[in-house]
Symmetry: C2
């Protein structure tokens, strides 16, 4: 009845043991601190798994299965991480094989945005929706697509790279090497770079951040709420570009629900209001009236539940 | 065992009686010539259905079901045509109820791009693909999405309006009232308007068309093949913008197959070559190597098979 879920991120790793109703028996978080050598990173990960199982008074044999969510492109069928932007050296790493050897249980590999989408669909803001999209709105932008009541993974498990749909021809350069990607406008890392380059000395953002190097989207949200002109213009720009991404989703997939994560969930009405209003203008009424824009509901607990969802894969649906 | 399929288009109406293997027993085509009064259009459509059944020596009772494919937004559950750009007066028309009354059989409503996608998936270029997208590339641009082996219809049956995903912020105006839609760049009607406004007097396109008013995308294809500079530049532009749409599809859905209809199928390698090459540059290698770009395979026979597919709906899959 127990499953072990792992969310292996570039900055932190989250482990959770729980059941299919999302009840956690044990959990752990630690900084990933990638060594540059995937083999060493894997040994450290396996140690953490065994430690958590011991804490939970479980043996690996007590687990029905293990799930692992990773950022970046994967080959889901073969259990390979093809490359992960924030895990140096992780190219064509046989993550599932390593976990199967170390734990002796079946292992499922999932894209991290897909795992988060499953979590918000099973336990959060998209519960009960037949067609729902979850958008991570953090360092990067990724999507998990729940279509006709199932996670749509696409070839090799790499659907939902919504951060890289082109919204402007020959637009801003993106970390992925392309131009005009949605993420180049509304990804947290891209936005932070822009803010550090452009914030006027007198802006409230800068005062809130303490230094130019520390400036991040969260400071824009706070400064805009205090009426800072630069911050308000930046927030308007963020909403306008994100709207292009939402219009792409609505015209192509006609979902009932779009759930927006991190930055938008933190901003609340400062983003949600303009996005909902903008969408009514930007897409046809027949489409606009069928879709609801909602903030993510799982907050700080999302990584554990996402990890757990990666471990519950039977028939693609979690119930 | 027999079903009646109807493809109700703005310019022509296609009827087909056939079985689930795509074998046609009878077929008919006639110009739609919408009267402006949906009631009269419906009477004419029902007469055509009864005439075709008589020709096929069938009674309506011999039909298992009827399917009807229409352009423009629908409410699939309620069997309503919400509005059809080329059918004047067709707003919130209860098409299914009218056909049920007139024929006494169950009636399925389908978006025309979805019906065409089903046809290319069951009988044409996307046969056997788990994830495939069919793009109509004719007067307008629409998509049918086969995802995880099923047609993805979205809320009310209106997914796949790929012609209206924004590919340029504040870009060219589109007939739908928005700006920067894919269709404003690569839709046949939009392209024809642009060609008529811009073709130089000396261009081969114009000579092939006979007059500026008659100028259409097909003349660009022929003139480009003959080396006409204006036509080649126009074809390059078409390919470059269509590539933005294909990149959107690949990053968001990671399909195995994208099937391109009318204009691209007619152009053959003049479009397919640059699109395949361009896609390898425009999307990540991990995604590009999983997707094949193919021309539509059903050609002139597509409307009958699309109509028939609209009539075979059991469990969303046609087999």
């Amino acid at each position: 009845m127990w499953r072990l879920g792992i969310d292996l991120g570039g900055s932190k790793t989250v482990l959770a043991v729980g059941d299919r109703r999302g009840q956690l028996k044990a959990r752990a978080r630690y900084p990933t601190e990638p060594s540059g050598d995937p083999q060493r990173d894997l040994e450290r990960l396996l140690e953490a798994c065994h430690r958590l199982l011991a804490e939970a008074s479980l043996r690996a044999e007590d687990l029905e299965a293990v799930g692992v969510a990773v950022p970046g492109p994967i080959d889901r069928e073969r259990g390979l991480v093809l490359g992960a932007p924030n895990l140096p050296g992780w190219e064509r790493v046989a993550l599932c094989d390593a976990l199967v050897s170390g734990l002796g249980r079946p292992v499922h590999l999932e894209n991290d945005a897909d795992a988060a989408a499953l979590a918000e669909w099973c336990f959060g803001a998209a519960r009960g929706a037949r067609d729902a999209v979850y958008l991570t709105m953090s360092t990067g932008v990724g999507a998990g697509l729940i279509l006709d009541g199932r996670l749509h993974r696409g070839a090799r498990g790499n659907a939902g790279e919504l951060g890289h749909v082109p919204i402007e021809r020959d637009g801003e350069p993106c970390v992925c090497g392309q131009r005009g990607c949605l993420e180049a406008y509304v990804g947290g890392a891209a936005w932070a770079r822009r803010l550090r380059a452009r914030a006027p000395e007198a802006s409230t953002c800068l005062a809130l951040a303490g230094s130019r190097e520390a400036l991040a989207p969260e400071h824009v949200l706070h400064a805009a709420a205090q009426g800072d002109a630069f911050a308000r213009a930046e927030l308007d720009r963020f909403n306008a570009y994100l709207l292009q991404g939402l219009a792409t989703l609505v015209f192509s997939l006609a979902p009932q629900v779009i759930v927006l994560g991190t930055i938008v969930a933190a901003a609340g009405e400062a983003c949600l209001g303009p996005l909902r209003q903008g969408l009514r203008r930007r897409v046809w009424p027949v489409l606009a009236r069928e879709v609801e824009i909602r903030p993510a509901a799982l907050g700080q607990g999302l990584p554990e539940l996402a990890a757990l969802c990666a471990a519950f894969q039977r028939g693609d649906s979690v119930d």
